[in-house]
């Protein structure tokens, strides 16, 4: 059995993270000591590693909860997990596109700035951001 500190050390997370996962319903101690200290078994180590790995793949805690539920459900099959993974991939592809568009917009702004010696109040990057803010606010006002 592991105390929360030992478990955290083993999976290289903080004890606060373990408590947070418990609060989010992702992980529970196998039992508590009479004094109320949490004790975890080897299954908790596997579960914690699973959560960290899934987070690194971009899954949110809610999605990880869904994956864990599928993992422990007798009725679920690999197709259910595959479906979750496909939907996650779609979301990531959307994000990649949005990031590419943002990066392109910044490339254009950087290209506009051709004189590093100019005073800041003539900065075309800040002016462009100001303008787009003004356009957005005008748009919201019109709506």
């Amino acid at each position: 059995m592991y105390t929360i500190g030992k478990l955290a050390l083993r999976v290289e997370v903080s004890a606060d993270t373990v408590r947070y996962y418990e609060k989010e319903g992702l992980l529970a101690p196998a039992k508590k000591t009479d004094a109320g200290y949490r004790l975890y078994d080897a299954d908790a180590v596997r579960r914690l590693r699973f959560i960290r790995q899934a987070q690194q793949c971009g899954f949110s805690l809610a999605e990880i909860r869904e994956l864990l539920a599928l993992k422990s459900s007798d009725a679920a099959c690999c197709k259910d997990v595959r479906g979750v993974a496909i939907n996650k991939k779609l979301q990531l592809e959307h994000k990649i596109r949005a990031l590419q568009a943002m990066s392109q917009a910044l490339t254009e702004l950087i290209a506009v700035c051709d004189d590093e010696a100019r005073p800041l109040d003539e900065c075309p990057i800040l002016a462009a951001l100001d303008n787009s803010m003004a356009r957005q606010m005008k748009g919201e006002g019109d709506a």
Partner: protein
């Protein structure tokens, strides 16, 4: 002619059954009115993302995402009927 595209992943048994029902709706209207295409979302993920597909399965009509999950046969029939006028 309406172009109906159904995005799903191959091997999804649940989708296959539902798709067969929807395909029958398109076939009822006839190939001169509705062109039916089943899209493997994994093979055409760029196209799916372009249309705004955020989850699988989904249905696009004339290059526009209309159903973000599989509709019932009644819903598809109503949508196609509305578009055909």
């Amino acid at each position: 002619m309406l172009k109906v595209e159904v995005f799903s992943s191959p091997g999804c048994g649940k989708c296959a059954q539902a798709k067969a029902v929807l395909r029958a709706v398109a076939e009822e209207l006839g190939p001169d009115k509705v062109a039916w295409r089943e899209v493997n979302i994994l093979a055409e993920i760029d196209y799916a993302v372009e249309l705004g597909v955020m989850s699988s399965p989904a249905v696009a009509i004339d290059g526009q995402l209309v159903f973000s999950s599989l509709p019932s046969d009644g819903q598809l029939r109503a949508e196609l009927g509305r578009r055909l006028g």
